[in-house]
Every structure is written in structure tokens, then in C-alpha cells.
């Protein structure tokens, strides 16, 4: 009898627990609903507002249209973005003194995606985020996690460029803050010390010339001139990504789409070739490359133990924090076989978006509108050592940009747009693992085989993503 009673109590308890939880499930759907209604309201409201603000001149003086914003904006961004955002916020506070900004920091791209997944799963998206353009914007827009920015009327502020990656179904979902160049960083102080001259006239134009330059450095006394932080996702994949944009996409701009549709494969010879080319640089990397951290890489670069590394131009501000006066040069990537194929890899980057989780979407949008204005962009870019994207914004660009900007302004090299940064989730981690395997001595064929099988694994896991990618893809 007692036993039965006990069983009954346990059963009842479990039932209440489960009910409690499914009750939770019901409440969970509520915020989504309110969010949706809120979104509709937002759109209506901001539609009205933008109608209003078209009468005023728009741009920076949006604060003068009488709306008093207050509150704190939570910004999800990278380590080096806090300084520029602080600068923009300082300007914004002149219009709206009660607004503050708070940061959540991602350490690298994988961390960014993982944390976003986590936020989406727990329904706690930060108000705004700054991420690499094109990585996930379209996917998030499709799944309804981003607010469209069309009503802010800021697209016209942008200088000419490819906006396809920040748009979804014709609407703008992200405003790019900078033009990011993917470059080869170069410690010019050390080069001068070694008696090697690199300038606009004689920068390397192809892989052979680059290897020649590395060899020259070695002969002049720098044993390992090229550096890679093998333990860091972004650093050890920076070179492969530059190679993919410059060489692989140079040969077949639709390579990734072909991989996803089964027409191409990571184990194809053109991708194996990448690791063979990377092998030529391997000789010029320190033996402890596989375990090097980004800090270690910075140390090597600043102390002159290494002279070159591949990264996006945004890494400059991190180096400037450590040594403001160093003579740094950025060279266009030069990994093609022939000099005439060389391109300048660059495109809109540092996209800022407002999420559907924004607690005060009006404020966030207004702030974004301010960032996208001439003043905002100048404040941002002069604190991040970046090239601005807003028409008319003028900043004293860092001398490290001198060669790149000259090439860009003269149009010497065709632009290799960052055609698609959209990869299946988990791909960057997978490429990192591949690169690390290669760094510790695995041969290119087997590295590529592993990448290929694991990529298939990821594709099997998210067939919907593959389907959507191919459906929206425009073949070049």
C-alpha cells in the first residue's frame, strides 16, 4: 500500500515537474509573439519617424528631432572594437547624454558564432553586434534574428562597393564600418635594419617573388621571417582564406557553391595545391608555429623575430596598442602563380546589426544611424586604424596603409571581392584543425581528405542550410 502511495507521489511529482517545464515552454513562445508584435510596432513607428526625418537633413543631426533616448546598449563585438565604439558613443552622448554602451566580447570568429548560437537558443540576443560582414548576416536575417535597416536610409551613405553580403531579399541588415583589406603585414623597421627595401615600386607580385623576399630576409639574418599563430583559429586560417579568395576563387568564383552542390570537392587538386603552396612558406615559419598564440605572434612581430604575417587590416590597432611608433607596412596578398593575376583583397567589413533581441530597438537604430553618419564614421575609423566606408568621411589614415591606399586609389590591382564569406557553421573550426594538422607535418593530401569528410559531415547535419545557400546563391 505504502509502496504504491510512494510510486504515486513520485509519478505526481514528475508530472508536475514536466508540466512546469512545458508551462515554461508556453511562456517561451510568448516573448517570441511579443517580439513579433513589437517588431511590427517598431517598423510602423520607425516608418513614421523616417518619414519625419526625410524632411530634416538626416544623418548626424537626428538627435535634434526632439526624441530623447536613454538607456544602455549592449554591443557584442571583438576586443579591439571597444575603443572605436567608445569614441562614437562619446560623440553620441553630446546629443543624448543618458545613453551608455556596454560590451560583450568575442575572442574569435568561432567564439562569435558559438556564442550567437547560445544567445539564440537562450533567447538572450544582445542589442547590437559587430561581426565580419557576410559570415552569418543573411542566415540570421532569414531566420528573423535581425532588424531590417532600410527605414534608416543609410545605404546611400556608403561609398561604392559590393553590398550583396549585407542584404537579404533586398533589405539591408548590416552597416559595414570599414573597408577591410586582407593583407600581408610587414615589420618595416626590421626590414630596413636588414637592408631590404620594400616599397610601392617593388612590393612582391606573386608567390615566387614573396618566397624570394623571405629567402632574402633569411640570408640577411632573420631565420624565420613568416609567422603564423598556429593555436589561433583566425591566424592559422588567415593565409588559407586569402589564398581561397585570391587564387581558388580567381580560378572558379563559384567553388564553394560547387562544393555544396556536389560539383566540386575539397579534395580536388586545386585545393590540395593550396597546402602545397603553404608548404613553401612552412620553411620560413618558426618550428614552434603550431602552438604559437596570437600574443606570441605579436611578440615575435614587434621584437623583429618575425617580419611578415597574413591577417586582415583590422589587426593593426592591436599592434598599435603595443607599439604606436613602429613602422608597419601592409602589402597586398601575393599568392598567385603569375604577377598579372594579383588582386587586392578587400571589401566592406565590420558590419553592425541590430538584433530582434534589442531591448530598445529605436535607440539602437538611432545609434546605428549615427555611426553611419560622417561624424560617427570618422570617430570610429580614426580610433580603429581602419579605412572608412562613409562618403566624405576623412581621417588621418595610419601610415601603414600607404602602399595599399596608393594601389587602391590608382586602381593598379583588380579588387578580389570577398565573394562569399558565408560558410557552413563549424567550417572555420574545421579548416583550423586541418591547418594545424598540416602544421604538425601531415601531408596535404591527407589533410584535405579529412577536411572533405568532415565537411560532408557538417553538410549532412544541416541540409536546410545547404538548401537555402544554394537557393539564394547567384552564380558568377
Amino acid at each position: 500500500m505504502k509502496k504504491k502511495l510512494g510510486m504515486l507521489v513520485i509519478a505526481a511529482l514528475m508530472a508536475t515537474t514536466i508540466c512546469g517545464c512545458s508551462g515554461g515552454g508556453q511562456t517561451e513562445s510568448k516573448p517570441a509573439e511579443t517580439q513579433a508584435t513589437q517588431k511590427a510596432e517598431t517598423q510602423a513607428a520607425s516608418g513614421a519617424e523616417s518619414a519625419e526625418s526625410t524632411e530634416s537633413t538626416g544623418g548626424a543631426d537626428s538627435g535634434e528631432d526632439g526624441i530623447d533616448y536613454s538607456g544602455t546598449i549592449t554591443m557584442f563585438c571583438g576586443t579591439e572594437d571597444t575603443k572605436p565604439f567608445d569614441a562614437v558613443m562619446a560623440e553620441y552622448q553630446k546629443l543624448h547624454p543618458d545613453v551608455n554602451i556596454e560590451y560583450i566580447i568575442w575572442e574569435n570568429v568561432t567564439d562569435f558564432e558559438t556564442m550567437m548560437t547560445n544567445y539564440i537558443a537562450t533567447n538572450t540576443l544582445p542589442d547590437m553586434y559587430r561581426g565580419q560582414v557576410g559570415v552569418v548576416q543573411q542566415q540570421y536575417a532569414m531566420e528573423g534574428y535581425l532588424l531590417p535597416l532600410d527605414d534608416l536610409d543609410i545605404e546611400g551613405n556608403l561609398v561604392n562597393g559590393d553590398t550583396s553580403l549585407i542584404k537579404y531579399k533586398g533589405s539591408l541588415y548590416s552597416f559595414p564600418m570599414t573597408i577591410a583589406y586582407s593583407v600581408t603585414f610587414c615589420n618595416n623597421d626590421k626590414l630596413k635594419e636588414l637592408g631590404i627595401d620594400v616599397s610601392y615600386e617593388n612590393y612582391p607580385r606573386c608567390m615566387d617573388e614573396f618566397v624570394e623576399l623571405l629567402q632574402k630576409c633569411r640570408e640577411a639574418g632573420c631565420e624565420y621571417p613568416f609567422s603564423v599563430a598556429g593555436s589561433d583559429t583566425s591566424s592559422c586560417t588567415a593565409w588559407p582564406f586569402q589564398y581561397i579568395y585570391q587564387v581558388l576563387y580567381g580560378g572558379n568564383p563559384n567553388f564553394y557553391a560547387d562544393v555544396l552542390s556536389g560539383k566540386a570537392n575539397w579534395s580536388d587538386p586545386e585545393f590540395v595545391k593550396m597546402f602545397e603552396e603553404y608548404d613553401r612558406l612552412r620553411e620560413y615559419m618558426a618550428p614552434d608555429t603550431a602552438a604559437k598564440t596570437t600574443d606570441g605572434q605579436k611578440a615575435d612581430f614587434i621584437s623583429g623575430d618575425a617580419i611578415f604575417f597574413s591577417q586582415t587590416a583590422s589587426s593593426l590597432s592591436g599592434l598599435r596598442n603595443l607599439d604606436p611608433d613602429m613602422d608597419i607596412l601592409m602589402l597586398p596578398s601575393c599568392f598567385t602563380e603569375k604577377p598579372e593575376d594579383q588582386t587586392l583583397i578587400g571589401g566592406f567589413d565590420d558590419g553592425i546589426s541590430v538584433t530582434t533581441g534589442a531591448k530598445n530597438p529605436e535607440l539602437c537604430k538611432d545609434f546605428l544611424k549615427f555611426i553611419a553618419s560622417k561624424e560617427g564614421c570618422e570617430a570610429y575609423c580614426s580610433n580603429s586604424a581602419c579605412v572608412p566606408t562613409v562618403k566624405g568621411a576623412e581621417i588621418d589614415s595610419d601610415p601603414a596603409f600607404r602602399i595599399i591606399l596608393e594601389i587602391a586609389s590608382k586602381g593598379d590591382l583588380p579588387n578580389s571581392a570577398i565573394l562569399s564569406r558565408q560558410w557552413i557553421s563549424g567550417f572555420k573550426e574545421l579548416l583550423k584543425t586541418g591547418c594545424q594538422n598540416w602544421l604538425v607535418g601531415e601531408d596535404p593530401a591527407s589533410v584535405v581528405d579529412k577536411i572533405s569528410t568532415e565537411h560532408t559531415r557538417l553538410m549532412d547535419a544541416s541540409p536546410d542550410w545547404v538548401e537555402n545557400f544554394l537557393a539564394d546563391y547567384e552564380y558568377k
Binding site: 575572442e107 538572450t124 596570437t294 611578440a299
Partner: protein
Amino acid sequence: MRAKKNEDIVMNKRSPRRVFSEVFVTLIMTVFVLIILYPFIVMLLVSLKDTKEALVSPNSIPDRLMWENYLKAWKSMNYPKVFANTVYVTAASLVGIILFSGICSYVIAWSRHKKFYNGIYLLFICGIMIPFYTALVPLTKLMTNLHLNNSLTGMILFYIGRNMPMAVFLYTGFIRSVSVEILEAGRVDGADVWKLYWKIMFPIMKPITSTILVLDALGIWNDYLFPKIMLIGKDLRTITLAQAYFKGENSGMMNLTFAAYILTIIPVILFYFAFQKNIVEGVAAGAVKG
């Protein structure tokens, strides 16, 4: 006094071989201690350098002692807030664990409905071995559904639940070993379960309570993955999160990072030295009982 004298005599009687072996043991133990202390020394040295020096030549004695690094680290990580959060979570969880598991174990051990509570006891015991990772995503979902994510209260409730099995196990074992007479005496006086527990049982259980406190306090204080998944707001960060994020947020500044690390380990080490005896005894007792 006499024992001491005895020892002295023994000392004098020592053969050279024994003296040698003792010196040898002391030497080896000193080497062990040096290995243990080495990372602390590295942290201290690096934390006092300037950024460039910390990166380029980390192994030397600092050129100039930069004590201001500690001030910067203190501000940058918002130390008081982080510390307060961690203390709050740890303390509240511990109070919850002791409060709920103690009385629960008492009922389990002494109730007349033996079979029923034995069943419940077994249910608890099964929970000891469940790894946190098994239910990573379901737990995330559950916390979200209950609106307990991104909140310290949610963390506390979870910690209480998760540490319940071990605490019930230890308490029940202890209570069962307490002699019956003590409680029977109370029962005759007509005290009810509640009074009996707080007046008589709880004071007796002091040693095992301190074991549980010691075992769970460090576990909660040093937990990393759960807060990493649960806490998003910067002002909710716990010490382990601050440690992990500091490195990323001050990328390249190993001097500040290590200054922050030293700041974060000072409270734990002070706590350890203050309660060293209880901690060591608690660990030993907990292990032997487990």
C-alpha cells in the same frame, strides 16, 4: 613534555644513514614545492612588467616594477562587482545545499516509512555520477524556458540541485551513524521533526556540514562552463568568467592579464590559509565517506 624529551633522545641516537635519508626527503619535498610555486613566481614577475617587456622578454626580472598594472586590471575587470557576484552565488548556493539536503537526509534516515525513503535515497545516489555535459543543451533550454538564464538566481538554484545528491549521500551516511538514544530522548519530549532537527541533529552534524561546505564551495567558486553558457551580461560575471574573458579582452597584454589573475586568486588563497585545517580535514573526510 615527556614525549618531546623522548624524541630528542631518539634524534641523538640517529644513525648517519637516517639523517641522510631525512635530508634527502626534505630536499625532494623542497623540489616539489618549488615546482608548485614556480607558476606563481612567473605570474608575479610578468604582472609587474610593461606590456612590451612582458611579451618580448617574459623571463627576466622586471626593469621597473609597474604596480599600476594591478590598478588597471582591477578597474578593467570591475573587480568588486565580479567578486561580489561570485561570493553571492557561492554563499547562497551553500546555504541552500545545507538547508535542504540536511533536513532531507534527516527524514530519509529516520522516517518510519523506510521503504519509501530508501527509494528516494537511491534516486539521489544515482545522480552523483551524471556528468554535466550529458545534458548540456537540454539544460540550456530548460533554464531558458524557466527564464532562469542570464541570472544569478538561476545559477544558484541549479547549483543547489546539482550538489544535492552528494550532500544527501554524505549527510545520510553520517546521520545513520548517530546513536539512536540521542534522538529518542528528544522524541519523548514531544518535539516535532523540525525542532528535533535544528535543536539536536544539526549541531551534531557540524563536522560533516563543514565537509560538505568545503567540497562544494571550491567547486562552485571555480566552475567555468556553466556560467559561460548561462551568463551573458558583463555585470553578472563570476571570477572564472572574468579570468577567461580578461585574456581575450586585453589581448596581448599578458602583464595586465597576470595581474588580474593574481587579484582573483588572492581571495581563494587567503580563504584557504584561514580555513586550511577545515579544508584538509573536510576533503579527507568527504573522500573517505564517499
